[in-house]
């Protein structure tokens, strides 16, 4: 019996150009609709902070550091839910143009134990990739996804104070 591998791999094919997908996942200063309506704050230089903030920039939801940037193919960064105290894990985006489709592969690994983060991100990324496909192909996301965002919004003020602090620094 081989030891359990604590890593997730996700894949989706999106009709469109690799540049369009890259531009969306590295979009800064405005919300990324597919990525839970978050605002990415980073200068995309290895070693720099990498944060996903709430749409109003008041709360930091995910924070980490940039590890690798190779546009428009590869983006690697560490990942920590600001709300939790789980140690950082690693996210790798790999984009490949195959004909008129982009193969998006997302790996989330470097978990030492099956933390809450490990369990939570599984459904999360599946939904995000599906939304990314809809967004690039149709210019909109699903109604249920919008509903999910709407439900989360009134809960934001109840996020722990480190989410506010991390958004400021």
């Amino acid at each position: 019996m081989t030891a359990e591998k604590l890593e997730h791999v996700f894949e989706i094919r999106i009709r469109g150009s690799i540049q369009a997908v890259w531009d969306e996942i590295t979009k800064r200063g405005a919300v990324q609709r597919p990525l839970m309506d978050t605002v990415l704050v980073t200068d995309l230089k290895p070693g720099s902070p990498f944060k996903y903030l709430s749409p109003n920039h008041k709360y930091c939801l995910v924070h980490g550091k940039v590890l690798e940037v190779d546009p428009p193919r590869r983006l690697v960064h560490t990942y920590q839910f600001t709300i939790s105290h789980d140690p950082p894990s690693r996210v790798t985006w790999e984009l490949d143009q195959i004909g008129d489709e982009v193969r998006v592969r997302l790996m989330h690994d470097q978990f030492e134990t099956p933390t809450k983060t490990f369990k939570q991100v599984k459904g999360g990324w599946a939904g995000i990739l599906q939304s990314l496909k809809l967004w690039i192909e149709t210019g909109d996301i699903a109604f249920t996804t919008k509903l999910q965002y709407a439900m989360f919004k009134p809960m934001m003020p109840f996020l722990p104070k480190q989410c506010r602090e991390m958004a400021r620094t």
């Binding site: 604590l6 509903l147 709407a150 439900m151």
Partner: protein
């Protein structure tokens, strides 16, 4: 997008392939490990894995001589989205209406409270 789902339905139609997916739910497995767990031959397992890979339900990554098979939950999510969304939207709209009513009431309550504190402020 509906046509994207055809290979997924085909792959899911086979009970052995669904059993393989169930096995991968807890984490990735090597092809060798999978053939040990199932009654059918290594050749049959590999054939099923190829169908699953083509449908995007399984992602294969090679590490040295081992083939690691990962469950990709994204296509299943797409099926859920395709079939649930039209029904979910019906009650979802009702829920959104409810949310609006509650928020409006909450705002009205806050506005009243703010008004009250201003009044007490002038009195002091």
């Amino acid at each position: 997008m509906a046509r994207d789902l055809d290979p997924i339905w085909k792959a899911l139609a086979d009970p052995s392939r669904r059993a393989i997916l169930d096995r991968l739910r807890d984490g990735p497995r090597t092809t060798g490990e999978l053939s040990e767990r199932f009654e059918f031959s290594r050749f049959a397992v590999m054939k099923h894995l190829r169908v699953l890979e083509r449908a995007g339900l399984v992602i294969v990554r090679r590490r040295g001589r081992e083939r690691w098979n990962y469950l990709n939950p994204v296509p299943i999510q797409m099926i859920v989205e395709r079939w649930i969304t039209p029904y979910a939207s019906m009650w979802a709209r009702d829920l959104l209406d409810l949310k609006r009513v509650v928020e409006r009431r909450e705002e009205a309550r806050k506005a009243r409270k703010a008004g009250d504190s201003r009044e007490t402020g002038t009195r002091v």
